[in-house]
């Protein structure tokens, strides 16, 4: 980055000005030598960030392999939140998720995604790993969805813009002689305003493992998942 012009301004009285004139002149020459180095004029990171933060996600995924410094910029949390802010600031960009049953032998469900007003139906190849069969969806929050599938204890965070799915680790085991009741999770999902962590809160119903011991009310176990540690913590019991 270039030196600021104010560097050449001397805070002394006019009488001293001439004394410093020569030195100031030398500094100028030095700065000329420094700033006329050949090379890429757009090396300033700020400028690159400003330009890239205006591009759609698909472009950014490609731009990650332009060079190492671009890769570092695009994957940095600051850039990501700036990009998201730009995206939401544009009044004409809409993100709409449509959960649609695409009858394929009556079995498969698929999601149709409208991003940047461009409908993009996710291909079956990209859907391959996704929990599209009756998932519970929650979100979006800051561009991210929480997905939960009941029958296989499946939980994940999904970023539809880059089609990335992050599987959450399993919920910690219940204490001995207890199990979780076969209820659906009670869950919530949000972005922590301070830590910028995506957090998922899940409430699990505890009951006695042995049927004959069941009865009465057992506490609800509360777990909080945090994306920065990629782990669940036992928040407490209700």
């Amino acid at each position: 980055m270039a030196l600021s012009l104010s560097r050449y301004v001397w805070p002394y009285g006019q009488s001293l000005a001439s004394l410093f004139k020569e030195r100031s002149q030398k500094e100028r020459e030095m700065s000329i030598a420094m700033t006329t180095m050949p090379g890429n004029l757009l090396s300033t990171e700020d400028v690159v960030i400003e330009i890239l933060s205006r591009l759609p996600v698909k472009n950014l995924l490609r731009c990650k392999c332009v060079c190492k410094s671009w890769h570092a910029i695009i994957t940095s949390p600051n850039f990501i939140s700036k990009h998201l802010r730009n995206y939401y600031d544009k009044s004409d960009s809409d993100c709409l998720l449509v959960q649609n049953c695409v009858a394929q032998a009556g079995e498969l469900e698929s999601l149709e995604l409208l991003l940047d007003e461009t409908p993009r139906v996710l291909s079956y190849a990209s859907l391959h790993m996704m929990p599209f069969h009756s998932p519970f969806l929650c979100g979006p929050c800051d561009g991210i969805f929480y997905m939960y599938r009941y029958y296989s204890d499946f939980r994940a965070l999904w970023n539809p813009a880059i089609n990335e799915l992050r599987y959450l680790p399993p919920i910690p085991n219940p204490p001995s002689s207890f199990s979780y009741s076969p209820q659906y999770d009670a869950y919530g999902f949000g972005l922590h305003p301070v830590t910028k962590d995506y957090e998922v809160v899940v409430l699990k119903d505890l009951w006695r493992e042995k049927v004959e011991e069941r009865g009465g009310r057992y506490p609800l176990r509360v777990f909080v998942y945090s994306s920065s540690t990629d782990s669940w913590r036992h928040w407490g019991d209700l």
Binding site: Q25, N40, I51, R62, C67, H71
Partner: protein, 183 residues
């Protein structure tokens, strides 16, 4: 540029262009002299120069200066930046959003890729926010939906990934490389 040619030029210019406030009272506006790194002299109205935040603060700190050296700025982008700022002054006097938008769009459309890329560091250095916005958006528009190779050559960036690294990155989001414009 060598220092031996720089110093004498500066002295001559200062004598030539020292402001004469007494004789110029008839003139409505004060002129300010900007000197590019390749020693070209630009005389601009004070109102135009004050659009450059960097120049403005320079004058606030040392009001007696007559020539502002811009060691980071070459003549061509500087002249284009001045052209843009002159128009913005007109829009400040007579606000017309539609006309301003039209002008800003035309300003970037007629510029070559190189002109745009060269102007950005200048607008950045001189802290001309409006122009920087216009330029950044224009460059973003020009590289949108282009291939990685196109983007690299647009900015003159050397690929510092190994072939294996690049291939791995491309595999990571293979779908993002589909449907890209022809270079």
């Amino acid at each position: 540029m060598s220092s031996s040619t720089d110093s004498p030029t500066l002295t001559t210019e200062t004598t030539q262009l020292s402001p004469q406030p007494d004789t110029e009272t008839a003139k409505p506006t004060k002129k300010i002299t900007l000197k590019s790194s390749d020693n070209q002299i630009f005389e601009v109205e004070e109102s135009v120069a004050m659009e450059f935040a960097t120049v403005k603060s320079f004058f606030e700190d040392s009001p007696s200066t007559d020539t502002v050296p811009l060691p980071n700025v070459t003549a061509k982008p500087l002249s284009q930046v001045i052209e843009f700022c002159k128009e913005q002054i007109k829009f400040k006097a007579n606000p017309d959003e539609a006309q301003k938008k039209k002008y800003n769009a035309e300003f970037v459309t007629e510029k070559s890729d190189k002109d745009l890329v060269d102007m950005i560091p200048v607008a950045n250095y001189l802290e001309i926010k409006d122009l920087l916005d216009v330029l950044n958006q224009a460059v973003a528009d020009r590289i949108e939906n282009k291939s990685v190779e196109y983007v690299r050559s647009f900015f003159g960036i050397d690929n510092d990934f190994t072939a294996e690294e690049e291939a791995a990155l491309r595999r990571e989001h293979a779908w993002a490389y589909e449907g890209v414009d022809e270079d």
